[in-house]
């Protein structure tokens, strides 16, 4: 029912998510947080994931890492199905995948020293030699631009939001992972610090040869770091395509709306007064057919009767819409 075509990016993707469904039971109702999402990320690629809050971005990121088990669907990481893994096999695999959160301060244990926080993943994964641990911790901290000697003995509250995000990135890097889900890593940061962290992520990516799933609700931020962008609405993908192409020629009405809504730092660009009306409906009872139809200026009968499938509209660009813009 919720099958979507899977836009292939390469013959050997590092991550291959196939028809993923994630739900949350609340009372006797069900939140349809992710409803049949398929996507692939090539080795060394950054895939940006955008959409309004509540559309299921974090749920998707967490389900990819098996921090929330999906109801159905598969997550192939380097060819192996994570959804079928349990116990030690899953723990071993988790060394290769990491997560960075939006709220850097809240994601650090306030009572533990920075050195211990970063060493913890090493201990869990069985690095017993403490000298080796310290060396790895120092390397990770230096890599994110912090001086280990000044940092390891201190507590999280002694650091600003931007520094805490550096610490979180160091913690994610210490196990030398291949893949990182960055869940809105700069949304809570000021413009100037945001730029520092985005640059740092880019630098770490090339230094460690990382593959990233970069989640944000800000399209301009996503574009700055992503090779391709996936646009999500109410648990489903609307559009996937190469960043520049998607911005230059969005095919989905929702993508166009998101681009329109970006505040432009240019006084000659009078903000369009055509912007989006209303807010997304509840994922407990999503609209029939196309989930965007209650806000879409192009919606017609077909949009409520028939769910649009992802299909190619241009080279590498896929859209789920009955009446695309291109």
């Amino acid at each position: 029912m919720t099958q979507q075509a899977s836009p292939a990016v390469s013959n050997d993707p590092l991550l291959d998510v196939d028809n993923l469904v994630v739900e949350y039971p609340v009372g006797n109702k069900i939140v349809h947080a992710v409803s049949g999402v398929s996507l692939q990320i090539a080795r060394g690629e950054t895939l940006g994931l955008v959409g309004e809050s509540g559309c299921g971005k974090s749920t998707l990121g967490r389900a990819v890492l098996q921090l929330r088990r999906p109801v159905s669907g598969r997550v192939l990481f380097d060819g192996q199905d994570l959804t079928a893994m349990h116990g030690d096999t899953l723990r071993l695999m988790r060394r290769r995948v990491q997560l960075i959160f939006q709220d850097p301060i809240a994601s650090l244990n306030p009572r533990r020293r920075i050195g211990d926080i970063i060493a913890e993943p090493l201990i869990i994964s069985g690095v017993k030699d403490s000298a080796k641990r310290q060396k790895l911790v120092d390397e990770a901290l230096s890599a994110v631009g912090l001086d280990p000697a000044l940092v390891v003995g201190r507590l999280p509250h002694e650091f600003s939001g931007g520094q805490c995000q550096r610490i979180c990135i160091a913690r994610a890097l210490v196990l030398n992972p291949e893949f990182i889900v960055c869940d809105e890593p700069v949304s809570a940061l000021d413009v100037s610090i945001r730029a520092q962290i985005l640059n740092l992520l880019e630098e770490m990516k090339s230094r460690y040869g990382l593959t990233l799933l970069f989640i944000a609700h800000d399209l301009a931020v996503v574009k700055a770091v992503s090779d391709r962008v996936a646009v999500m609405y109410l648990g489903r993908l609307c559009e996937v395509g190469p960043s520049e192409q998607l911005f230059a020629r969005p095919a989905h009405p929702y993508t166009a709306l998101l681009i329109e809504a970006i505040p432009m730092p240019d006084p000659d660009v009078r903000p369009a007064e055509t912007v989006p009306v209303g807010e997304p409906p509840s994922p407990i009872s999503p609209p029939s057919g196309c989930r965007f139809r209650t806000r879409c200026p192009r919606a017609d009968q077909r949009c409520s009767d028939e769910m649009p499938e992802l299909r190619a509209v241009a080279s590498g660009q896929f859209v789920a819409c009955h009446h695309p813009l291109i």
Partner: protein, 331 residues
């Protein structure tokens, strides 16, 4: 105060006692805003935007020390009795905060809150106040307003709550609305709708507005004038088009450069501002931006630049080496 000036903030200082010593949150700020005009106040978090707006509203923390003068609509706010201030804040001086729950009562319905405000300040009877409430909710884009009157704030989304807070702020036809990061916590799509709403109501009511934000993109198309704040001070101030056409203060330039550009290719490194703002309990002797400024020279570290005009009286900046001068940074 000159003719047509609605608000003038003169040499305002806000000091806050902290365990680490005195924290000067607002440092000698001068601002004016004319009736029906919009002023954007932009700066990174912690630079004193909220303390400045609270100083205008006379809603500072108890221990705060305020000096200077705040003239609003011909009255010196520092001399008004608490009772008079309360009346003023309900009527001609209104505010919308980043978190709408700051101004909403969680245990009262939306209707009760709106109707009570209208009854108290405009002395409307119940029927008239109810009618007006429905009109206001419709004006701020809330669907099915009659039904919303019966709902509690927690039953609404963040964007809808902010709309209700705006409706309450607008209810008594204020002369000045202070909007303190009204959209920072919201999605871009909702942000665009709320900003449009504020702009529309501002024009329709010929109301003056101070729009506070950390995002230069938010003020660009929506204000007449912009004041950029850094470490408690106004460091550049200009008519909005002039500011974007020719920024003079290196901090303003850096703030703009650090924004991801929609038309830049992916993976273009962002010109980030290194370091972070100074600790406000340890004020610097020289220019507050000097540790982060790529144009700083010796004088910047020992002397504080004053906010001054150069060619155009409307464009002021606090910098020894302004961008675009022969000796300056842009040379």
């Amino acid at each position: 105060m000159t003719e047509g000036t609605l608000l003038s903030v003169e040499d305002v200082i806000v000091d806050l006692p902290t365990p680490r010593g005195n924290l000067r949150a607002v440092d000698r700020v001068d601002l004016t805003i004319g009736a029906g005009r919009t002023l954007g106040v932009v700066g990174e978090s912690g630079c004193g935007k909220t303390m400045l707006s609270r100083a205008i509203l006379q809603l500072l923390p108890k221990r705060a020390k305020l000096s200077g003068r705040v003239m609003f609509d011909g009255q010196d706010l520092l001399q008004l009795s608490p009772e008079k201030l309360r009346k003023l804040r309900g009527r001609s001086l209104a505010v919308v905060f980043q978190d709408p729950m700051t101004s909403l009562n969680p245990v009262l319905t939306i209707g009760t809150q709106l109707i009570e405000t209208l009854q108290e300040h405009l002395e409307l009877d119940m029927a008239a106040a109810t009618r007006r409430s429905v009109e206001l909710l419709a004006a701020v884009g809330i669907p099915a307003p009659e039904q919303r009157l019966m709902q509690y704030p927690h039953q609404l989304s963040g964007g809808m709550r902010q709309r209700v807070a705006i409706a309450i702020a607008l209810s008594c036809e204020p002369k000045l609305l202070i909007a303190d990061e009204p959209t920072t916590a919201l999605d871009v799509t909702i942000q665009a709708q709320i900003l449009d709403l504020l702009a529309r109501e501002q024009r329709r009511r010929h109301m003056a507005m101070i729009l506070i934000t950390h995002d230069l993109g938010v003020v660009a198309g929506r204000t007449d004038e912009v004041a950029v704040m850094y470490a408690g001070r106004v460091v550049e101030r200009a008519p909005t088009p002039a500011l974007f056409k020719k920024m003079r203060m290196p901090y303003t330039e850096a703030l703009l450069a650090a924004l991801p550009k929609i038309d830049a290719a992916p993976h273009t490194p962002l010109p980030a501002i290194s370091g972070r703002p100074p600790d406000p309990t340890r004020p610097l002797k020289g220019c507050s931006f000097s540790p982060r400024c790529r144009y700083a020279w010796a004088q910047c570290h020992v002397e504080k630049p004053r906010l001054e005009e150069s060619n155009s009286p409307a464009h002021q900046f606090a910098c020894f080496r302004p961008i675009g001068t022969g000796a300056g940074a842009g040379a």
